[in-house]
């Protein structure tokens, strides 16, 4: 199972490595060399275009809270994949995987997220 997930994640990363036509390609703003995994609580959802964003408060071992800005695809792309603005309610505990921003690490793009029940959701590629 673990291996299967590893393969899935690998495929997701491969998808992201390909330049995608659409609103904009993600590599101009995000760095493929900065994979991030962030655990925290959803503080805000922006069910908006050209892209959706959600924000997560993550607390480090010293108690310092960082608010992360995570970007996902457009609302049409997410809706066609079965997501809605209710998929990640405020207060949800999540573990988010993605890539950090080139200028600001805490502004990251999402590849997948996982709820506290461990179920993982892969996010449609950014392109719209």
């Amino acid at each position: 199972m673990r291996m299967k997930l590893g393969i899935l994640v690998g495929v997701v990363f491969a998808c992201f490595a390909v330049p995608i036509a659409g609103h904009h390609s993600w590599t101009a703003e995000y760095d493929a060399k900065k994979p991030v995994t962030v655990k925290g609580v959803v503080t805000k959802i922006e069910w908006t275009n050209p892209h959706t964003h959600f924000y997560v408060d993550s607390t480090d071992e010293n108690g310092k809270v960082t608010n992360w800005n995570f970007e996902m695809a457009s609302t049409p792309a997410l809706e066609r994949s079965g997501f809605s603005r209710k998929t990640l309610p405020i207060g949800t505990q999540v573990t988010v995987s993605g890539f950090g921003g080139r200028a600001v690490l805490e502004r990251a793009i999402v590849t997948s997220f996982k709820g506290s029940d461990g179920k993982e959701f892969f996010v449609p590629k950014l392109g719209n």
């Binding site: 036509a21 904009h24 050209p50 892209h51 609302t75 207060g91 709820g115």
Partner: protein
């Protein structure tokens, strides 16, 4: 996940204010959402998604001919995706674009950065890019002896393009616009659209292939089978290219349940704000 996380939040939250906030959000959500939204499954019921499609799901290959309207013209209705977003260079032979570009245009193209594409700042993409990653429709109006055909694009901001089918000519000196002045006619089963009066403020394609206000574009749209639209585009711009050339795109039909959805690009465009972690605030 949504339901379990939310109920867990309600159970474990200590602050009353937090619970209140969640209840308010829940109330707003219930009131604000349309019926189809409410009917959506909870996240835990959703299949895991790998990659994902931005546009509508495509119909499976259907071996049947293009449908016709009552007046005998080809019915172009349906939700389409693709058909005009690819870099022109990729559609030509190797080195061909370089031989076509005038020196200034070649120089300009070499200097543009992808990040400068006006489209990323929510400006229109022009007639070629009205198709692409976003869902779009042809609307023939009326459906018998159409006087107008519209292209409706999900992307940008509820964009439309208007094609006059009533036999009128181009104006003598049209003021340049993002989508220009388009007149159409049927050549057998092919819709021919002739466009002039375009401005030079959009990029022809995602690679920033330059053009000028002299651009004259002739598109030939052919529904080669039920699920496929072929688009041959002749680009004639003596201001940017040494001679006219033709590129071919393909659009694919979405499944019958496909719709164009709302997408307002300027709503929350954080492009260009990359030095700020939370341009709109994360709380």
């Amino acid at each position: 996940m949504a339901r379990s996380s939310l109920s867990r939040s309600l159970e474990t939250e200590e602050g009353e204010g937090r619970v209140k906030r969640i209840l308010v959000v829940a109330a707003i959500t219930v009131v604000g959402l349309s019926a189809p939204f409410v009917a959506r499954p909870h996240a835990q019921d959703l299949p895991r998604r790998l990659g994902g499609e931005n546009g509508p799901r495509k119909v499976d290959a259907v071996n049947k001919p293009a449908p016709k309207l009552a007046d005998g013209t080809v019915d172009l209705s349906g939700v389409w995706s693709g058909g005009g977003d690819a870099p022109i260079r990729r559609l030509l032979k190797q080195g061909e674009l370089d031989s076509l570009l005038l020196p200034w245009a070649k120089q300009k193209m070499a200097s543009v950065k992808e990040a400068d594409d006006p489209y990323f700042f929510c400006m229109p993409g022009g007639p070629l890019r009205i198709t692409g990653g976003f869902a779009w429709r042809f609307v023939q109006h009326p459906t018998v002896n159409a006087t107008h055909i519209f292209m409706l694009q999900e992307g940008n901001a509820h964009t439309y393009r208007q094609i006059f089918m009533d036999g009128r000519k181009h104006p003598d000196d049209p003021s340049p616009t993002w989508y220009g002045h388009s007149i159409g006619r049927w050549d057998g089963n092919t819709l021919v659209i002739d466009t002039v009066g375009l401005n030079d403020r959009f990029w022809l394609d995602t690679a920033g292939t330059p053009h000028t206000e002299q651009l004259h574009m002739v598109e030939r749209w052919t529904r080669t089978d039920y699920a496929t639209l072929r688009r041959d585009v002749t680009i004639d711009d003596p201001g940017a290219f040494t001679k006219p050339f033709t590129v071919t795109y393909t659009a694919k039909l979405g499944t019958p349940d496909s719709e164009i959805l709302e997408y307002i690009c300027i709503e929350n465009n954080q492009w260009g704000d990359r030095n700020s972690s939370n341009p709109t605030g994360g709380k």
